[in-house]
Symmetry: C2
Subunit: 159 residues, 2 copies
């Protein structure tokens, strides 16, 4: 579960050049191929690396508008609402949270006008009491993990 410096370097390398092979990695890292292979297997079975799925850009697919909707759910309707939202393709992510809202929902749409359609579809469901939406304007820090990986590797080394 804790990763060491070599694990960290493997992950960083993979993030920078995803199409790199195990052999090339071993050359860059100065270790034997079997070592890299074993580390990779371990990282994957650990669940640290979940996979290598393609990172698709919704904007390039024709969905340049992103928004977050905070939903308040009627008592006991949680499961139904989740099932409902899971059927909406424009719902990219759904989280339950503490605080004022009960759920936080990441949406995309083809345009600001289209966002209305998406929101209508999202909230057009009985268990949802109230929804408030915030449109994303900029994304100064796109979803990232490398700094955290480096931090985790550093923590491990300093032990």
């Amino acid at each position: 579960m804790a990763i060491d410096h070599l694990d960290g370097r493997i992950i960083v390398l993979l993030a920078e050049e995803p199409r790199i092979g195990v052999l090339e990695m071993s050359r860059r890292l100065g270790v034997a191929r079997g070592t890299v292979q074993a580390r990779l297997d371990r990282l994957q079975s650990n669940g640290v690396i979940r996979g290598f799925g393609p990172q698709v850009d919704p904007a390039a697919l024709g969905y340049p508008v992103t928004a977050f909707a905070t939903l308040q759910i009627r008592q006991g309707q949680g499961p139904d609402v989740r099932a409902h939202l899971a059927t909406v393709p424009e719902v990219l992510e759904l989280l339950t949270t503490t605080g004022t809202g009960d759920m936080l929902c990441r949406l995309v749409a083809r345009s600001n006008a289209d966002l209305q359609r998406v929101i209508d579809r999202v909230v057009g469901f009985d268990g949802i009491v109230r929804a408030s939406t915030a449109i994303v304007m900029e994304n100064p820090v796109p979803l990232r993990i490398i700094p955290l990986v480096e931090q985790a590797a550093r923590d491990r080394e300093e032990t």
Copy 2:
């Protein structure tokens, strides 16, 4: 920019079995290898597929707590705040939004107690007026893109 059915199937295949090769894909899809290769190249230079970086699970790295912080920024301090937050490894994502808050910030921490440290570090910066935090409890719909890809491919076909 618009993707057709074959593009969609390629992306779905890649998402399901990321380690699959071009040759195996061409077999599964019943098309020539060169076709798959050309489509993949196009999808990548289009920006539809951004890359194949490893998907790292923060929880498995020792950061099982996720939270969203809504930040209010002092006028004109936006750029400084962004630069500040970019230096915090536990900040996985930062977005500027419309609505009550000015920024939305995705955080992780080693524990609920550790979250306090992270938040202190995040808001311990002059340009931030107010912060409110919501801790994520469950993640009923983890970040996904496949349904949207299928929708986009369907839209294209129906033209």
